[in-house]
């Protein structure tokens, strides 16, 4: 069965006992397909690392189950699971050479010495560490250490590769190139991977699908495009990228995937993915800053006053005030557009296809 290679079923982890309990992971359901790279993305303390550690076997779930290839592994100790992990700080064994680090798991598995040598050399060249095999980890750069850690996990040919913020100890530039390398390697090997990060750019560029978590719960699962263009709630919309939220109301349900909403006394047609909105319901209209156009004031349009402008070369950022609401607008290639100055009243156009609505939520700020 190609589908649902790794399955988490109502996975829950509660830390502490008595009155002082924290539910770190709360009834998480997830299906990962074979060869897929899934990222768990969320702010710190959202339960993503705990989820990963439960898949690895370092934590046992309080309730719920974990399956790999339909076999339940929830209570199997980490050394007997078909998973391997790339640790945040790499966790390279300081008393062993690069070669010994990478060959460690095979030696534990008691593979023949000849096999070990062949496999290790192969993977060393796969990750580009030729000539460094006799070095001690302490004498490697951060990027090289990272690759040793990856090689040490990959050589075990695990069914699922787990990566716990593997790039967070690298500098910004290296992070960008390494994440592309990881993605290429993952696709070449075709290994099913679960990747934990708090860096959304990393998640967007790497993943087949992104799992957004907050407070122990999954908020949304989807491709990077889905997550960005069609967030399901305020948290996801606010967490991924920059979003403007305008309060409004459903005027009419036009068809299964189209509704008419009223925002600031103006009506907009919005496509929806699900047909769960009903007439009269309060909503948030979500509009990304880059999907707004500004014009000189015209009658019968939505207008606002420019409060602040920031010139960034490739982009111009406007802060616009509409009644009590603020709107962030991002104009790319500002040389081709008319510039407005602070205090000027402008007309605001929304690019129709980029409009998106979510159910209204009381926002605590």
């Amino acid at each position: 069965m190609k589908q649902d290679y790794l399955v988490l079923e109502k996975l829950t982890k509660v830390f502490g006992s008595g009155k002082n309990t924290i539910t770190a992971v709360d009834k998480v359901n997830l299906q990962v397909k074979k060869g897929e790279l899934i990222t768990l993305l969320g702010p710190s303390g959202c339960g993503k690392t705990t989820t990963l550690r439960m898949i690895a076997g370092f934590e046992f779930p309080t309730s719920g189950k974990i399956f790999i290839e339909d076999k339940e592994i929830s209570l199997i100790p980490p050394n007997r699971r078909p998973t391997t992990m790339v640790f945040q700080n790499y966790a390279l064994f300081p008393h062993m050479t690069v070669f010994e680090n990478i060959a460690y798991g095979l030696k534990i598995r008691r593979e023949a010495a000849k096999n070990i040598r062949e496999k290790t050399e192969k993977i060393i060249s796969l990750v580009g560490l030729e000539g460094l095999s006799e070095r001690s980890p302490a004498h490697l750069s951060g990027g090289q250490q990272q690759r040793v850690s990856l090689a040490r996990s990959l050589i075990m040919e695990p069914k699922v590769l787990l990566l716990d913020e593997p790039l967070s100890n690298l500098d910004a530039k290296l992070r960008v190139s390494t994440r592309l390398e990881i993605r290429k390697l993952q696709q070449r090997v075709g290994i099913t991977s679960v990747y934990v990060t708090h860096d959304q750019e990393e998640a967007m560029t790497l993943s087949d699908r992104v799992v957004i978590m907050n407070a122990g719960k999954i908020q949304q699962i989807g491709t990077p495009q889905e997550i960005y263009a069609h967030p399901v709630n305020y948290f996801v919309a606010d967490f991924i990228g920059k979003a403007n939220f305008l309060e409004g109301r459903v005027e009419d349900v036009i068809s299964k995937d189209k509704v008419l909403v009223e925002v600031k006394n103006k009506k907009y047609e919005v496509f929806t993915l699900k047909d769960s909105f009903s007439k009269g319901e309060k909503i948030f209209l979500i509009i990304r800053p880059e999907s707004v156009e500004l014009e000189a004031k015209k009658p019968n349009t939505l207008t606002g006053i420019v409060r602040q402008l920031i010139y960034l070369g490739s982009r111009m950022i406007y802060e616009i005030k509409i009644d009590k609401d603020h709107l962030t607008v991002e104009i790319t290639n500002p040389q081709e557009h008319k510039a407005f100055s602070s205090g000027e009243e402008v007309s605001i156009n929304f690019q129709k296809k980029s409009l998106h609505i979510i159910p209204y939520e009381e926002i605590k700020k």
């Binding site: 100790p77 966790a91 460690y104 598995r109 040490r152």
Partner: protein, 569 residues
């Protein structure tokens, strides 16, 4: 610019800096003078005396080392004792450290406290307890004879048992620090790659701890070889260097032979110290920062748990048995003859021992704050200041740590019983000789904890103070001192404990006028007055506990969130 020129310019630069801060310059000079006088000079005197016989230069003492049994036998015995104690002590310490860091052993605080308890008791109390338990009229002796036949607790066997109890805590503290500092992710990674508990232990935990194990072994070895109190009480015919040196000097008045034995005593301890400091510590994979690392997987199998837990419970039981025996023994009317329970030993102890107790308290109370302040100041100079001879300052001040008390004691009587150019006063017989000895013997630990805490403080904080116009002195008092207060007080606590329980060095410098409770206890043991000795020992332990409690209270008050006092040896 050539290297020499650069060096000269650097030195001139440093000199100029010192010129600008005369107080710092004077302090450095003063400290060098003190270190020279009270650390180096006495040891030099021992060495010099060992080279003279009847006032004439004569190296026959050294030529006789390998031919005369009275040199060679104690040397061999001391080393054998040290090796045995260090090996068993390190194993016990490792079991405890492993149980406390890697398993779900219940009542961890209880085990931790018990395991470190022998550190705060006078060293020879354990030997006293061994005599009460297994001596000629020991409580358990009749039962033991039935099982193993006639035996004697006096000798190598008894000494190993007693010193293991006394010094395994040192090994425990070293290994506990190391095991706590190993990143748990390493063991997790190993397990993740398929290693079983035993494989994780043998391929990761053990190799990473090996330098720590070697360190612990050498530290226990130093302590065991240098130990005087326990062998004095329980060595019997098994002659060791520290006791032989003492007997030569106080019994035979043979300063030359005593000094030679002292120098022989210095050999193994200094060797061990240098191996530990300059070889092993550089091979360590683990940096002990004092910050405990993240959560650890504590899921080891029963086949690991059972032996580890048994070891912990067993050793804890033995500690309880030994110290419990001291309590029981202190309440006996006449040990081995009349076991009616009574409090008369305590009354007698206050009558006979009151003066000793007051002397001990007075001298310790004077020495402790000086030790603490001097130690901190030295740590500050070593870590934060650049001056010529800084390395030498650190070396001399740390040296005391490795020099057995016996050597220091002999050195002090040789160095300060006459006026010298270096020190134009006679100290012998005064309170000052005891106080200075306590200060300079206990200072290394203050320096060490000071260095450890200073290294964790960003120098830029102090630079900011200097930048705002404060000189070194004000910066130290107003900025550095408050930040290192917890380490300072833990240094104080340690010095007080060591001052109250000291015996090996001070026994040479006590006088009729100024004596110490530990020396008195040893006297009682010598005269088979075990019950009184037990009562006195307990009183000392009690006082030390009260003092520790008071210092802990002060630390709690000044440093919110400051760490608990850690007694490190």
């Amino acid at each position: 610019m050539s290297n020499t020129q650069r060096k000269i310019r650097e030195i001139i630069g440093q000199l100029r800096l010192i010129w600008k801060e005369p107080l710092l310059f004077i302090s450095i000079l003063a400290i060098f003078y003190f270190l020279l006088t009270f650390v180096a000079f006495p040891i030099f005197q021992v060495f010099k005396t060992s080279l003279y016989t009847n006032g004439k230069l004569d190296i026959s003492n050294y030529l006789a080392i390998f031919s005369k049994r009275y040199y060679f036998q104690p040397f061999l015995n001391s080393v054998i004792l040290g090796v045995c104690t260090a090996t068993i002590g390190t194993i016990v310490g490792f079991i405890f450290a492993y149980a406390l860091t890697r398993t779900t052993l219940p009542f961890k605080n209880f085990f931790r406290t018990t395991a470190t308890f022998p550190i705060i008791s006078p060293p020879f109390v354990v030997a006293l307890a061994a005599i009460l338990l297994f001596g000629r009229s020991g409580s358990l002796t009749p039962y033991l004879i039935k099982i193993i036949g006639p035996y004697s607790i006096y000798g190598l066997g008894g000494l190993i048992i007693v010193e293991t109890i006394a010094y395994a805590p040192t090994a425990f503290l070293v290994l506990y620090g190391i095991l706590q500092a190993i990143d748990p992710a390493l063991e997790e990674a190993s397990m993740d790659l398929g290693a079983s508990d035993i494989k994780v232990f043998s391929t990761i935990t053990l190799p990473l701890t090996t330098p720590g194990i070697a360190s612990a072994w050498l530290l226990v070895f130093i302590q065991s070889v240098a130990d005087f109190g326990n062998p004095m009480v329980i060595s019997g015919d098994f002659r060791v260097l520290s006791v032989q040196a003492f007997l030569q000097i106080t019994g035979m008045y043979d300063l030359s032979r005593g000094s030679t034995l002292a120098i022989l005593l210095l050999l193994p301890t200094l060797t061990a110290f240098f191996i530990q400091k300059y070889w092993i510590s550089k091979r360590s994979y683990v940096t002990v920062t004092g910050k405990p690392t993240g959560a650890m997987v504590k899921r080891v199998g029963w086949y690991i748990k059972i032996p580890i837990y048994t070891g912990c419970v067993g050793f804890t039981g033995i500690i309880f048995l030994f110290y419990g025996m001291i309590i029981y023994g202190s309440l006996q009317t006449l040990w081995g003859v009349d076991s009616t329970l009574t409090l008369k030993n305590y009354i007698e102890m206050f009558q006979v021992g009151k003066d000793y107790l007051i002397d001990s308290l007075t001298l310790s109370t004077v020495a402790t704050p000086i030790t603490g302040i001097l130690g901190m100041f030295l740590a500050f100079l070593i870590i934060r200041k650049k001056f010529i001879g800084r390395g030498l300052m650190e070396f001399i001040s740390m040296l005391t740590f490795a020099v057995p008390g016996t050597v220091v004691g002999i050195g002090y009587i040789l160095a300060f019983n006459q006026k010298t150019i270096l020190f134009p006063f006679v100290l012998t017989g005064t309170a000052w000789i005891i106080i200075t000895l306590l200060i300079f013997r206990n200072m290394p630990v203050g320096i060490r904890s000071g260095i450890a805490s200073l290294q964790q403080i960003d120098p830029s904080i102090e630079e900011a103070s200097t930048d705002l116009g404060a000189d070194s002195n004000i910066t130290f008092r107003r900025i550095t001192l408050p930040m290192i207060a917890p380490a300072f007080f833990s240094g104080l606590a340690y010095s007080f404990v060591k001052a109250m329980t000291a015996i090996s060095a001070v026994i040479f410098v006590v006088s009729g006028k100024w004596n110490l409770i530990t020396v008195a206890i040893l006297g009682f043991v010598d005269n088979f007055k075990y019950a009184q000795a037990a009562a006195m020992s307990l009183t000392v332990i009690f006082i030390v506990l009260i003092a520790l409690g008071i210092i802990q209270l002060i630390v709690n008050r000044i440093g919110k969130g400051a760490r608990n006092i850690e007694i490190i040896s």
